[in-house]
Each structure stands twice: as C-alpha cells, then as structure tokens.
Symmetry: C2
Subunit: 359 residues, 2 copies
Amino acid sequence: MDDRVRRHAELLVDHCLEVTADDDVVVIGSQNAVSLITALYGVLGERGATPMAQLHDERARRAYQTAIDPDDVSTSAPRLAAMEAADAVVLISSTTNPYETTAVSDAVTDAIDAAYSPILDERLDNRWVITVHPTAGGASRARMGTDAYRSFVYDAVDVDWERQRRRQQRVADRIDAGETVRIQCGKTDLTMSIADRTALNDGATRNMPGGEVATSPVVESVEGTARFDLPIVYRGDRIEDVTLTFENGVVVDCAAGNEQDAMDRLLGHDAGARRVGELGIGMNRGIDRATTNTLFDEKMAGTVHLALGFGFAECVPEDQHPNQSEIHTDMLIDLRSDSLLTIDGDPIIEDGDFWFEDA
Amino acid sequence: MDDRVRRHAELLVDHCLEVTADDDVVVIGSQNAVSLITALYGVLGERGATPMAQLHDERARRAYQTAIDPDDVSTSAPRLAAMEAADAVVLISSTTNPYETTAVSDAVTDAIDAAYSPILDERLDNRWVITVHPTAGGASRARMGTDAYRSFVYDAVDVDWERQRRRQQRVADRIDAGETVRIQCGKTDLTMSIADRTALNDGATRNMPGGEVATSPVVESVEGTARFDLPIVYRGDRIEDVTLTFENGVVVDCAAGNEQDAMDRLLGHDAGARRVGELGIGMNRGIDRATTNTLFDEKMAGTVHLALGFGFAECVPEDQHPNQSEIHTDMLIDLRSDSLLTIDGDPIIEDGDFWFEDA
C-alpha cells in the first residue's frame, strides 16, 4: 500500500474524527476509493472501532436519476437508519467522471435533495469529514497527470495541522476584532461589515484538506463589485467569468461569461441565493493551483471566496442570524497578484501574501 | 451496457424479490459488481423503489480482520439498523481473489461470525437473494477464461424459471411421497429416510441461479458411505477427496485426501456438524461444470449434495425438528456417469439423467 494512503487514513481516523473503540464509523465512497477504504478498515480495526462501507457510485446514481419518476422518490429508510446509528462518517469523493450526473431534470434533482435532507441532518449530528481520494477522473478535471495529481492531493492533506491552525488563528483573531473588510483586485472592489462576527478556524476536522478561515458577514452590508476568477459549479453546470454587483447586500447585477441561464437559476433559487452567507480566506500553502474542486480550491492560499446562500450560525451573535437559503455556492477570487485585502484599513493579504509572511 | 447484465438485474428485482414502489432495497456487493449495481439502480428506479448500496470489499475486510483484537469486535449498529429498515436485500458475490480472507485466526473469525449473527437474522426476516456477478477472479477460481465464464454464469441465470419450477416439481412430488433414498456411485452407497419429509422447490427466489430440489432427511436414518467428488470449502480451506461413513446418522469415519485437520475441525464444530441437514438434487441444465462456487455447483443437473450442519424447518413435520448446528457445509456427489439414485427403489437419476428425460 502507498504510505500516503495509510497516512491519509490515520489523519481521518485520529485527527479529524478522534475515533475510539466504541465508535461505529460509516465510510461512504466509490469503487475508486477502495485503497483508501481498505486503509481505513485497517486503522479502524487497530483502534477497535467498527466500520461499515456504503458504495456511492456515479453511474448507478445516474441510472437511478434517469429511471425514477420524481413522485416516487423517497428517503432511503436503510440509509437514514444507518446514519442515525453511526457515531462518525467519512465521505470520500473519488470521481471517475465528474460529469456523470449532469443534465438530470430539476424535478428529479429537487425531489432527491428533499428526500436526502433528513439523512443530511443526521449526518451533521454525527462527527463527519469530507475528503478526496485521487483518481484519474479527478486528475482529468484538474487538467493534470494522475501521478502529479496524487502528489498534489497528498501535499494538501499531509500537513502539520496544529502548526497550520496556529497560523490561521492570526487571521481569525483579526476577523474577530475587525469591523470592515475591503477586497481590491482588478475589477473587484468589494466591502462588507464583519462587526460582531467571529471566525471559524478550519484546522481540517470536517474537511480534509482543511486550511481556511471563514465567517458570515453582515448580510446587508455587502457593497460593490466582485469578479470571480474560477468557474462556479451549480448542479453540474460550469459558469465562468462571473461578475456580480451588490447593493445593500443583494445582487443587483450579474454578468456571466457563459451559462447566463444557469447563473440566473442559481440566483433565483430562493431569497437567500442573492445574498452572501460566507467570506472565506484560503491559507493552505500545499494547494498551489485551482483544480475545479471546491474542497481544495477554497483552501488555496492567497484566494478568498464568497458563498451565495446559507451562512454559519456559529459566526453571528446569538440575537442575529446568518443568511438563510437552501443553497451554499462558493465563488473564488484569486488574490495572488496585484491585489489587496484589508481589515479596517490594515493589509491582511497583499499580492497573495499574508502580512506575517515574507513576500 | 451488456444486455445480459440488464436481464440479470430484472430477474433479481422482479422474479426473485417482486419489488414494488414502496420497497427499500439494500444491494451489497464489491466494486467488481458496479455494472450489475448500476443496472439494479436503473431497474429499481423504474419500479419506483429506493436503493441503497453497501460495499463489501475483500481486501478491506481482510485489513479489518488482521487489525482487530477479537475482544473489540462488535456488531455494526449502522449495518444492523440498515438491515432492519430494509424490505429486500440483494447480496452479490463478485470476487477479485477468493483467497483474500483465508488464514484469519479462528478467534477473529468466531468473533466476527457472532457479531454478524443479529444482522443475518434481520436479513433472513426480509426478502433476500444471493447471486453472482462474473469477474476475472471468479473465472480464475473456475479455471475458465473470463468471457467464457461470463457466458456460463448467464446461461445458468437466464432460465425460464416457471418452466424450470414445473420440471423440478416432478422430483419434489416424489420426495413428498417417498420413504427411502438410496444413492449408488463408485464408492458411494448411502441410504436415508425421507418419510414425512417435504421438498423445497428452488425456482430461483433466494438463490440466482436457482435450480435444485432439497429436503432435510430423518437425521438418524443416514447409513453407509459417501465419497464427495468436489472440494469442500470450510473457512477458506479446500478439502479434497473426502469419504465419510455414517452410522445411525452420525459420521463415524472420515478420510480426506488433504487438509485432514480442517475436515476434523469442521466435524468438531458442534454436535450437529457430524450429522446431515440437507439432501439436495441439482436440476439446472445451464450449469454443466463445477466452478468451485457452491451457489452454482449445488444446482448442477445430475449431481446431489449433502450438507453437514443445520437443516430446514420447512421440510420437517411440525412435531419434529431438523438437524441443529451453527454450520451448513455443502458436499457434492457427481452422479453424471455410472450411478443410480432411487426413491423406494424407483430410479430418479440414472447416469445423470432424470427418469423423465431422454438419456
């Protein structure tokens, strides 16, 4: 077995989920992830824990989506029961073909999302982590060779997470203390209030890799224009070169380089879909390029992302609430050259470097 | 998709399990079975049913078995909960390497068997079917090329099961009405009573392929010598060329061509392991050779099998009980040449042909 696969499994079991001998752990992945699942079974066995594996196969999912009448979609009682009985969950993304489940009817997609909702709620009540096992399909999406992509994934995963968390806390402290964020880069000039907001420091517990600091800004405070450098993925559509203009926290203008219809559908999903739920700052230096995978892209050091859709209750004062929506779609701004992000006028990121880093 | 895979899925969903729109169906298989699982998801979607797939991977299982301390083994609560919530279950055997989980310690095997027992009980309370998806590993075990093995599997599966059931009922009627079975072939000369016993007619509901007629003989009536022509598989060991002598229904002498220790462990498992729980008669003419896979071998037309271990309550009068044991190990006698099986002196199988078939 590749030592990196074994190390990945140990990080998931010990660092992310802190598994002990009494734990029932559900592992969900595709057939491509069998080497990681095998490593997880070994590590879980060593810890005395009890594994169960669920198969998530893209082609099978597509076959079901194509065949089912939306009126017949219902929540899988065995999946729900398994999730209720689990203590911890590992979700492994390991695509063969990231386009396998595109172009499914909205009626079926909506019905399946609704049917999945109680299973999602149960999962969120457990300890859980989302990760990636590198595949040829993932490498293709990243436009890289498979071996190079494997190295890329493990560089992002095999990090000294305690040290990383300490570095990130320096940015989190500035968010906790700050009032106003301004982002300037090319066409982008955006301001928002983070007054009374607290930061989440992602040291790779629920995402592996981790490596971001995030908060939910004051919803109505977002003002200005933002150009998003990386494609936005919404229900399988890749929407490129999107520029949004915000007034009083609401998107009032939207220009997309392609797929304008898909972008308009995203914005029209519900009232919260035109408002910002998250400001995130990527700080993982192991991620040096975008790979069309949000789990990695949003952690890339020197980028920031906004999410249209729901925000995080942990980040807002108890008497307020974050943006409400069914969706949460991340959109990246690349600050790695000729850019400035300030909090209350103090530079936090300049040309991609944090103030405490050597330029 | 291979039409034969689609047809296999339809038979499992419609013929074996009679799935309807309200059913939650759990599909358990390895990554090798993804094409069948995909076909099942399509057919289940068309019927309005809800699928869930569990991954059963041999290498992952071995990694867990090797790592776990027997004292830490426990029943997977999510697997148990999923089985309780299921209406129907498809178990797919699709090996990469049938030797993957051999040579695991008895202590771990016993602990895992005990932990699995409540899950097995729940499965047996549902509708369920066991089948095979043909793989290179299965072909290797059968000593065939992969494409030839695929054709072999589908010849055994894609049968007119109503016609097959009618053919089998002719033998079942003779068992229901008969008193004494005698089997003669080479060194084998064995008699047993089937008085008051009823036959099971396997028209492929719980096994796909099906194709046998079976009963549980009067335990203490088994007398004589039987030589088993095909290897007996017990916990991964292949025991070849076994001859057993029965007196008053109990094995009093056992000679194995190899692995005598494994055979002695089998006979010593519990009191019922030295007694016969089943007499089965294979009638599937699509199965023309042994492939070291009991699911197929025991259905091969012109063979009979005895099982040491537990018998079937359905075959025994209500005031009696079949043989009791934790195990059920099938052992085949090949009657395809120079042989005779009679019921009350009437030939049922002669040189491999049933009395109603053209020789």
